[in-house]
């Protein structure tokens, strides 16, 4: 085509310029409304998680005599039954939700994709065994299982993360396995084998990269589930008692009779934070899921 290749010994095929395919993660996040809103909301909460302690107007644990005060100039969101500042607690509480959400989702992603990759790739009895394990975790109701596990182990942030991670990987495993079943039959996997590649190499270099979008989309959804689970466990008193989270705030509120005292400022802020964060994360998750699963795509 252009003159630069004219001197080549062998003729060079025409090379039309290609644009990168639309729909990269970046375009998905910044180019769609759902992406922008979801990213902005999650961004705000991540900011709270990182700087919450620094920007909180009061020490969230400090008690005062100003008990269950409605919102006023000094306490913008009122005070708790101990006279602590609700706003400060909400700001600080973001950290636990974000940490638990992302760490538990990471554990679940690693576990789920490992089980899915190994089972799907090797098949046979390995697959049957892992599949049975997956089924077991899918069938057992998650919340009671989490309650039992969290009860057995002593409550701490790590325990929360591990418990939620351990109980939420099965769906990822199932999805990854299904994808691997089709991938392992593809010609490029056979080609890799013809190159002299072993099983571990093929899984690492060819199968895993091809399932990553799926794992990613699924994991974002699990972040939402994990945040909700943390709130639920903390609300039931199974959270880390030394840390303030939105779940423990709600627990304290209910134990101190805040709802019956009509102390809405104590209940609504943490509840709303949980709802909004989970909504935003789910929105991103569904966005990615639609992107990797064209059947869910309505327009485009």
């Amino acid at each position: 085509m252009s003159g630069e290749q004219a001197g080549a010994a062998v003729e060079v095929l025409a090379q039309p310029e290609f644009r990168d395919e639309p729909g990269t993660v970046r375009e998905l996040l910044l180019g769609t409304w759902r992406g922008r809103i979801g990213l902005a909301v999650v961004g705000i909460f991540v900011f709270m998680a990182v700087f919450g302690k620094a920007i909180a107007p009061y020490n969230p644990d400090a008690s005062s005599l100003d008990v269950l005060a409605p919102p006023n100039i000094h306490h913008l969101l009122g005070t708790t039954e101990n006279g602590s500042d609700v706003l400060s607690q909400v700001l600080v509480g973001a950290r636990v939700s974000i940490i638990v959400g992302f760490a538990a989702a990471a554990i679940s992603a690693v576990l789920g994709s490992a089980v899915g990759l190994v089972g799907g790739y090797f098949g046979g009895w390995t697959d049957r065994g892992l599949d049975a394990l997956e089924n077991w975790f899918l069938v057992i109701p998650t919340l009671p299982l989490m309650i039992v596990l969290a009860r057995i182990l002593s409550p701490s942030l790590t325990v929360l993360i591990v418990v939620i991670g351990l109980t939420s990987w099965a769906g990822t495993g199932r999805i990854v396995r299904a994808q691997v079943l089709t991938l392992r039959e593809r010609a490029f996997v056979e080609r890799a084998r013809a190159l002299g590649a072993g099983d571990g190499y093929i899984i690492r270099k060819h199968i895993l990269p091809n399932t990553l979008p799926l794992i990613f989309a699924n994991t974002v959804l699990i972040v939402a589930v994990a945040i909700l689970s943390e709130a639920a466990l903390s609300f039931l008193g199974l959270g880390d008692p030394t840390r303030i989270s939105w779940g423990t705030m709600l627990e304290n509120a209910f134990e101190s009779g805040a709802p019956s005292a009509q102390a809405w400022w104590y209940v609504i802020p943490p509840g709303l934070c949980i709802t909004v964060l989970v909504l935003a994360v789910s929105m991103l998750g569904y966005l990615f899921e639609e992107h990797v699963n064209p059947r869910l795509r309505e327009n485009r």
Partner: protein, 337 residues
């Protein structure tokens, strides 16, 4: 010259039914042998068996000996373990796959896939790998910039060239090309074939070219082997097989081809398909009713397993021979030149 590859009594079975049933042939260094035959006669299975790449449900037996010039000891492929085969694959024998699109990983840039082949067999520096990739791409007529693309960003011809560059990555002495030009248009087809031929001359590659396109094989190969129902029914120099086919199946196969410049109309197809491996007829495999050869030709005798070791071999010889040679055909492919 001693043979680069010797295949003796290669058998591949699926639950005891033969898919490939006693194939033997040999290949000298730098020689191109074509493997022809209709779909389902065992061409690809034979090729994969040479590299022991068959799925575990297929069992293979027979002796395959490879004597690459750079290795002193002959390699007995039949006896190699999976780990041992990994050292042979691509280093000594490489494959050009049928669909280039599907044979390239969609999420990896193509040059990374060539680098992968080199790194699996040699420990070389990143700089050297890059140089070799640029060299390989130049060899197949592609610019290094194309290496940074993904498979879907290349045209069909570019992809197939990429596959050839990939096949050459470890400088093997034998390349097996399984339908390398299928699904390419005639112009690209001609380019790819020309490239293969030039590379063969330049690098002294031996080539096993699998195709059901007899024209392609006539263009590229020194010798041609006609496969039918898991066996090689006729093998010989391209010109002699095409001009004076001995086996009735070869004749019928050649008759199926439309002739450019000849009488208008389709060729004379062979009805039906090859016998199912599970229901191989006793005696001659060409016999089943649907595929009865022209009358007067005896095909009832069992196929001779070991035909005479002449330049060309024919199994299940017809009753009469010595028909005058046919006029040289003009293959559709000649037009590409």
């Amino acid at each position: 010259m001693s043979a680069l590859l010797e295949v003796e009594g290669l058998r591949v079975t699926y639950r005891g039914d033969p898919i490939v049933d006693g194939v033997d042939f040999s290949l000298t260094p730098g020689e191109a042998v074509g493997l022809a035959g209709e779909s389902g006669c065992g061409k690809t299975t034979t090729a994969l068996a040479l590299m022991k790449l068959l799925p575990s449900s297929l069992k293979q037996s027979g002796v395959i000996t490879l004597r690459p010039p750079e290795v002193s000891e002959p390699i007995n492929i039949g006896k190699r373990t999976e780990a041992g085969m990994r050292l042979v694959r691509w280093r000594h024998v490489s494959l050009v796959f049928q669909g280039a699109m599907n044979s390239l990983d969609p999420v990896q840039r193509v040059d990374a896939q060539i680098a992968e082949a080199i790194r699996l067999h040699e420990s070389v520096s990143g700089k050297e790998v890059r140089e070799r990739i640029a060299e390989l791409l130049a060899t197949v007529g592609l610019t290094p910039a194309l290496g940074h693309r993904y498979a879907h960003q290349l045209s069909g011809g570019q992809r197939q060239r990429m596959m050839i560059a990939l096949a050459l990555a470890c400088r093997p002495s034998l390349v097996i090309a399984d339908e390398p030009t299928t699904a390419l248009d005639v112009v690209i087809q001609a380019q790819v074939l020309q490239l293969l031929e030039r590379l063969r001359e330049r690098l002294g590659l031996a080539l096993i070219l699998i195709s059901h396109d007899l024209g392609v094989l006539a263009e590229t190969c020194d010798r041609i082997a006609i496969m039918y129902a898991g066996r090689i029914v006729e093998i010989g120099q391209v010109s002699s097989v095409f001009d004076a086919p001995q086996h009735p199946y070869t004749k019928r196969l050649l008759d199926s081809l439309p002739l450019i410049g000849g009488r208008r109309g389709l060729g004379d197809p062979i009805p039906g398909g090859p016998p199912d491996p599970g229901e191989m007829p006793d005696g001659c495999r060409f016999r089943p009713a649907a595929r009865t050869p022209p009358s007067g030709v005896c095909l009832i005798r069992p196929c001779a397993r070991r035909p005479r070791a002449t330049a060309r071999r024919v199994t299940s010889r017809p009753g009469r021979s010595g028909r005058p040679p046919r006029p040289r055909r003009r293959w559709a492919h000649d037009l590409g030149r």
